[in-house]
């Protein structure tokens, strides 16, 4: 540690991870030299709780691992426990409904992320605009499932609620509204000179690092690694679609792995999701939505069954995997391991943060899509004197906003307004 370096802990509260993270930065002036991520503050012991409950009870627990990607956790757990119990003939209609729900969630999550990213850079107008647009997809999720978050749609052998033909026009209306509105929003991000200044060449994850650290999701696709579970190992309705992973080069931007590239990937994916939903609605197979109508029979089947399996889904943040083992003598889930996407991205995160400026930490950390808005306090420990000062989240955010303003002045834009 050089004389001028100091340690800067950030955290611990950090909501978009399953386990909110505490960062410790070793700083050299304004530049990050080393990063250590210390998760665990939000550790709820969910796998431990799950191993004391039966598979149908765990469904509700799996959904509540994360409030933003609740569907994909439930999807992965449902698939893993179905395979472990030997339920392999899931009705095709149910598979399509599952796919539609997962894609609706991807739209809501990516639009939410865009708002958070705008907020981190100090563009609050854009935050409000994106969240206004997000309400459209929330309305559709509520229309289908009855709730805005935690939809309780899946269970072993099918789905709980059908998407009946009279519901389809309402969903299509949302799709066309998004096609109309979303391009304007995408332009507001991608064409904006200041957004470019704050994101191009910031938080770069090289392709080599992305491959080495097994990073997943838009984080790795931004670096040009075409990993996408929906393409590589298509599950549910995705098996009928010939998808291609979204890479920044499809929009004419090189696969640099910087924050801008990750934004491009997410914007492309919103369009892809709209296409997937439309395909599934148009080609929805008829038939039942459940393998077995009687829930008690499903439960009895699961209790007698034995086996192990993994369920993999592509969450908005990347590959998600659940491992489930059921033992015939044990009515509970005997072993359960949940791996959310951010878990694999932690190491990539460290690589991206090293060399970043302190004012860029907010946007770089947000670029893998954990929501940093809840970062509650930052303590600055001066390496030389050992003195501790406290920086609040507001100070930290202010640093980021100040950098945007500084850039704006340098570019000769009129200050105050225009955003």
């Amino acid at each position: 540690m050089s004389k001028c370096s100091y340690t800067l802990p950030i955290g611990p509260v950090h909501p978009a991870l399953k386990e909110p993270t505490m960062f410790k930065f070793v700083m050299d002036g304004e530049i990050v030299k080393e990063v250590d991520v210390q998760p665990g503050v939000n550790h709820r012991g969910i796998e431990f709780i799950g191993m004391r409950r039966n598979p149908l009870q765990v469904l509700h627990l799996a959904e509540r691992i994360c409030g933003i990607c609740s569907i994909v956790h439930q999807y992965a757990f449902t698939m893993a426990s179905e395979k472990a119990a030997g339920i392999n003939d899931i009705p095709e209609r149910a598979q399509y409904i599952r796919t539609i729900m997962a894609e609706l969630e991807r739209i809501h999550s990516h639009v939410l992320w865009a708002g958070v990213a705008a907020h981190e850079l100090g563009f609050d107008t854009l935050l409000h605009w994106t969240w206004k647009l997000r309400e459209d997809v929330q309305d559709v999720l509520e229309y289908i499932s009855g709730n805005r978050v935690n939809y309780a749609m899946y269970y072993q052998g099918g789905v709980r609620r059908d998407i009946s033909p009279e519901k389809i026009p309402r969903i299509k209306e949302m799709i066309s509204a998004y096609r109309r509105e979303f391009q304007k929003l995408a332009d507001a991000f991608l064409e904006d000179p200041l957004f470019k200044h704050r994101t191009v060449n910031v938080g770069v994850l090289t392709k080599k690092d992305a491959l080495e650290t097994s990073a997943v999701g838009p984080t790795t696709r931004g670096s040009g690694v075409p990993k996408d579970v929906r393409v590589d190992q298509p599950y549910g309705g995705y098996a009928d679609l010939d998808l291609k992973p979204c890479l920044p080069e499809q929009m004419g931007y090189p696969n640099t792995g910087d924050t801008y590239a990750k934004t491009v990937v997410r914007i492309l994916e919103v369009g892809q999701s709209l296409d997937i939903i439309e395909f599934c609605l148009d080609n929805m197979p008829p038939g039942p939505i459940r393998w077995e109508m009687n829930v008690n029979k499903v439960l009895m089947h699961m209790k007698k069954a034995g086996g192990e399996a993994i369920g993999m889904t592509e969450a908005p943040r990347g590959e998600m995997i659940h491992y489930v083992r059921l033992d015939p003598g044990d009515e509970n889930v005997s072993a359960w391991k949940v791996r959310a996407s951010t878990y694999n991205n932690i190491i990539a995160w460290q690589k991206m943060l090293v060399g970043a400026q302190i004012a860029d930490v907010a946007i770089v950390a947000a670029s893998i899509d954990p929501c940093i808005g809840c970062m509650d306090r930052v303590t600055v420990v001066d390496g030389e004197t050992g003195k501790e000062g406290v920086m609040t989240k507001e100070d930290f955010y202010r640093l980021s906003v100040r950098k945007t303003r500084r850039l704006r002045r340098m570019k000769g834009k009129p200050s105050g307004g225009g955003w």
Binding site: Q95, P226, Q233, G237, D240, P245, I310, Y343
Partner: protein, 189 residues
Amino acid sequence: MMEPAEADGKIKRLTGEEIVSLFRERLGDGVVDTRVDVYTNGVRKKPFESVWIRVKRENFRDAVKLLAEVHSPLHISVASGSDIGDEIELIYHFQVYWGMGGGQISVSIGSRCPKSDPRFPSVSDLVPGAIITEREKQEFLGVVMEGIPDGRQLFLSESLPPDVHPWRKDEEELKKLEKYIRNVHDEGV
């Protein structure tokens, strides 16, 4: 469908059964048990494969090296672990043939160690992405990952003392854990 990597002639793609026979051939008695599950999806019933290979603990690192020959760089999803009576089982879930527009195979390599000797070889040097999940296994199951570059506590550092392992199911460990468990609905707070 044209597979990009295959078109380059870089690698020869094996099926799940071929991967299993490769492991049996190269590791011999080291392979304890194998299984290939095939699942179909969608209207078109497109299949994908999930390969399960159980090896002896002393062959575990060789097995991971062998899988890296099949497709490199290896993608590790996670390592899962569970308490199965007298032994602890760790299963590393890898993916091969990713990024080829389909046909990815999940290969899960599992191995067991007795509770009396809970040591396990770390593969963080072969697969750098494994470090987070190996640190997690150390604290949740009380196994020692031999050769792990960074063995600090991860999730439980602020919560439980280092000798308490929440995923262990034997009485001795449960007794240690018991005083930390709060069943709020039954006992109140």
